[in-house]
Symmetry: D2
Subunit: 365 residues, 4 copies
């Protein structure tokens, strides 16, 4: 209820502050019988982890996840899965100067006003560190979706500042530190980021997720549409300011005759909808895009106010990402996987015995 | 769980198909003591109602809402509020040809695959008619927010096809059939829509909502952020394909030094964030934008498949909006009001006795 | 959240006051493809209906349920089902004297204190009239459970004041106005109730529910155990003050060697557990008992206070049941059916692909 | 959804198996500003802890709780509170013989059938060890209720086998290993338990909870009544088979003139209702009783079947409580506190601005 749980049937509840003892979470509703080890989850945690390249923060976080329950003899038992990631590299001294002031662009001010108190160390609960737990939980969903249904959740960086990926080659994405699927843009990204780091500033980004091998029929009418829940999931990622499904904002200037995807005996002729009609998956690839703001933790000096309301300066000296969008790629994948997983189980609850589940269009399931 | 409920503390659950006996809903969690009559809700229902101008569908729906419970002696009692809107103008014959085929761009195909059956009359549950109940429920929230906190939820059409509102004058919005806040664009809109109707095609639109007099501190960290819940609400409106908060997709090319809103002793110096930091309201106006696709019900002929998978033609002869975005303005307001209302009660549950609720920045609450 | 919704996947949300325009509800999560008509639900509504015998209230309520949505061409479509029961026989004058005082044993005082206002006509929302909607919703669950799994939910009056049913013959239950399964007790019940009516007093009762053909494995560990959810459901019925599963309170004096049900290759040798172990169904019959207090609406004069806190008298002149426990039988069945239905869908969501679902013990599923 | 979360606004989600690495949980929705240390929670954990007397199991579990998040500078911050209790004394060898058979009276059979697999070590998730987390979470609720509202949650053993507490002296309860509030029954309990241990058998018990200084108005009408949620909470405790509120099962033979509690200008004249009318607290003490079955882990030999369905013997050699009811006292208190806490926040969400919150009856709040 206080917002630390995501999902209704397959759910994850998280806890933890950036500089506390540990972060962690509980997955509830995982089907039994899924082979699962910590190594399965570590893959994506390592992709999200800071300090893996010179383009992301130099902070070292080991992000080693421990599975505390819900797995026995190598398989999930159907009971709740406890996840724990200890905080190691805390260096609280880096943040001592923020106790008495509100960093602009951060949640310092809003947490203080909401609760009358806040854990100011490293942003506390509002730190992106919390997303490590989402990545671990999303890893469980990804494994189940892939293994049981062949569904794959493929994220990538589609734009960084002015540089746009023009070809989407998923085999390229994980071979470079930018999660960029376009091999021709790597040199430009490298140069852009080097200059940006020198300037002490940060930049926004666009991240996209493509979900392949989608079943038809996932998503609930009216409020909990598949696209609405994806929007909720993505806008809930730190720094995200916009979400699109399919053609997104370009539909504003489209005509109906142009936008509607024709159905043919061979399948849909196009995918303007992004794989969702009436909130329910069409069986086509689901396509989601999101816009991430530039981090506000920059070494460019700025002004703000103290907790007493007086003007003061703000200089961030900590180690921060010049583009938080980059590391958001595995987070976006995890959140998308959690949404699909939850809707798969929700669909199954209500519709197990529907006879005509074979799609009319061959190959669409 | 099957998606027909919105909100956690102040919630609305809806039912009803386009051509059934009635549509309706239940509001749960409404504070007691609020003066409420059907006339309060009818205002927005009439704004949403089809047939009010030549630019929207000529279908006549009286959309008269009845309050069946939860109000006694003119005030809410705290118990659940039953809402009923009877369906009158059903003309099922208009839709008889769609029983055997899937209209492209509609939910016919996905409902059929999900459930193995569907109410094909007028789109059934997937019809935008269902949003009338949301508008009625949103009216209760709007009244409470305005009366108790002075909060106003102001929607408007910010773009229709290529025509953009350049000045936002809320006093203009409700004086024209487009909900356009820019008086200088009315003639252009009129001409554009006349041409569009002649062509038999439809067009997309952008709708925006500005929420004024926001309290500081609404929104729950991590998953149920205020902006994430707004994204869920807006993407759950029929035809919406994209949602932005504050600067939205333009943050992709922004620098951190440019985006972060400086705090001064007089308040925030700018509002790039759209009134939300870390998922919690800053006390500034909340700004949300959404993109609505052009309706797929057009008289331009198209192709599709029958429920048996054979190619067939599709011509929509019913009475439809050439731009569904226009009538979405009161729906977007209603959904935004439901989100704010729910978060207000959620905040109050946990934080009633916090001492330091006076904001540091004067005038910010 | 404000308590008007029951169930998580198969849920019912209700509204309505005793003397308002109508009562009703929304069922969400019903599987598609279930043949359903109003007549299916009317059977149990008629069993619950007042005025059917001289032992229950003489008030006439027609309790005619209307299905407003979610059913098309005679089968459920998977979308939300709207239910409406109009209030007819309101006779508000019977209750005019209760506006200024709190009837002892009723919810007048607590509603007034909770909400600062109340609909005092006939108890408003706290009236047992609201349970008619539960009975209708339970009817949908009962039909599905019976048809798809053979599960039957069989309620009966097990005790009324000092008179206990000693033989449980389900074929007798619905042949008499007491829902008593013991044919040898009908004469005694008849005499007892005649004397009670003369005295103007009321009496408590015990109602039991036996659920047959239960699948193994329903119920979720830890909090949402099958028995815990049954307790929630039953204690939520007006006038219920106690709930037992299986041996109930007699376990206090049992030894472990006596209580534990031995498993044999032919099945369990006994059913002290009431069909639930560790919160999960064993495949045996589920047995639940509940105690209902005597109604407080009696013609025996009493004392109470006015809404101003002054002493006053209270005489109930309305038409009331001398034993509310009798009509609670179909309500208890309905609530039990809602619990089983919800747990069936919850189980299916998580466990669809478990291989070893065949029980080790033959005949146990 | 899969049952590992309790509460809607103030909620606790738990994980962990008896013989896994650790058990733990997450509290969400805790008001900020509450002074909280691990020592606050340890008090009740130590009361629940095995090995504290010769009448409970000799297993040593240190049950040391660690607060991993949500507390900063000694006070709660309003964010989620992570709790961890490491498992220490595991001695898996004690349980090796149960892998291949289903212990009667335990959840071995039902877990296996539900999930197709189970963690058989010490009962896994079905072990009462999981309740340690509930006790820790309940401790947070107890502290808040006591400090902010003076509410106290007082549990005690009201009956053990044939021995009933006749006087309820709360100052006696925590001075003896039985949590018995009647000083005159201690010798009899001591003797009874000594004989029982010798016989190798176990015995049932009745545990009661009295909640003092209750505010008026807690509880939601219809389904989530205060008493219904208490029934859910209590029946969800391992081994509980029956729950009563107020007069409980004795209402069956009561007359209405006898049961209804008269309101006088000085307050209620009696408390047959157990402090709840219409599901809402009256301001009187809330009284709940529950029946706990005798543990099935006894050294008296028994029969059962193997996982292959063959007859086999069962002898429990582990260290077990001869009366699990005794240690259930702090668990029952914790669950009651969680219910009251949740309803307090739920009430506050909806009713913050009700004017007439002063009760008519002096001293009733």
């Amino acid at each position: 209820m206080s917002g630390n749980t995501f999902g209704k049937i397959f759910s994850v509840t998280t806890f933890g502050e950036s500089h506390g003892i540990a972060i962690g979470g509980i997955i509830d509703g995982c089907p039994p019988g899924l082979a699962l080890t910590e190594a399965d989850l570590q893959i994506d945690l390592d992709r999200r982890k800071p300090g893996t390249s010179r383009y992301t923060t130099a902070r070292r976080e080991d992000d080693e996840v421990q599975i505390l329950s819900g797995v026995f003899d190598g398989v999930t038992t159907g009971t709740s899965i406890g996840l724990l990631i200890k905080n190691k590299d805390q260096r609280s001294q880096d943040y001592s100067k923020i106790a008495d002031r509100f960093r602009p662009g951060h949640a310092d001010y809003t947490y203080q006003q909401k609760y009358g108190t806040r854990d100011y160390r490293g942003g506390g609960r509002s730190s992106a560190r919390e997303t490590a737990v989402r990545v671990a939980a999303g890893g469980v969903a990804k494994k189940y979706l892939k293994q049981e249904f062949g569904i794959e959740v493929l994220g990538y960086l589609s734009q960084l500042g002015p540089i746009k990926a023009e070809t989407i080659d998923h085999s390229v994405t994980n071979t470079n530190p930018f999660f960029c699927p376009d091999p021709d843009k790597l040199a430009a990204l490298d140069e852009y980021m080097r200059d940006l780091k020198k300037s002490g500033d940060s930049i926004g980004a666009k991240v996209s997720v493509q979900i392949t091998n989608m079943p038809v029929g996932l998503g609930e009418p009216v409020f909990d549409r598949l696209d609405a829940d994806l929007a909720h999931a993505m806008m809930g990622i730190n720094a995200v300011k916009g979400v699109e499904v399919g053609d997104g904002f370009s539909v504003i200037e489209q005509k109906g005759s142009e936008h509607r995807d024709t159905l043919t005996p061979e399948g849909f002729a196009s995918n303007h909808s992004g794989g969702v009609l009436g909130g329910i998956s069409t069986g086509q690839d689901v396509i989601v895009h999101m816009a991430l703001k530039p981090t506000s933790s920059i070494t460019v000096p700025g002004e703000t106010i103290t907790t007493e309301g007086k003007t003061t300066d703000v200089i961030t000296k900590g180690r921060h990402d010049p583009c938080v969008g980059i590391r958001a790629v595995p987070i976006a994948e995890a959140m998308a996987a959690l949404v699909i997983m939850d809707h798969l189980l929700r669909h199954r609850a209500q519709n197990a015995n529907v006879q005509s589940s074979t799609p009319v269009i061959p190959g669409a399931i």
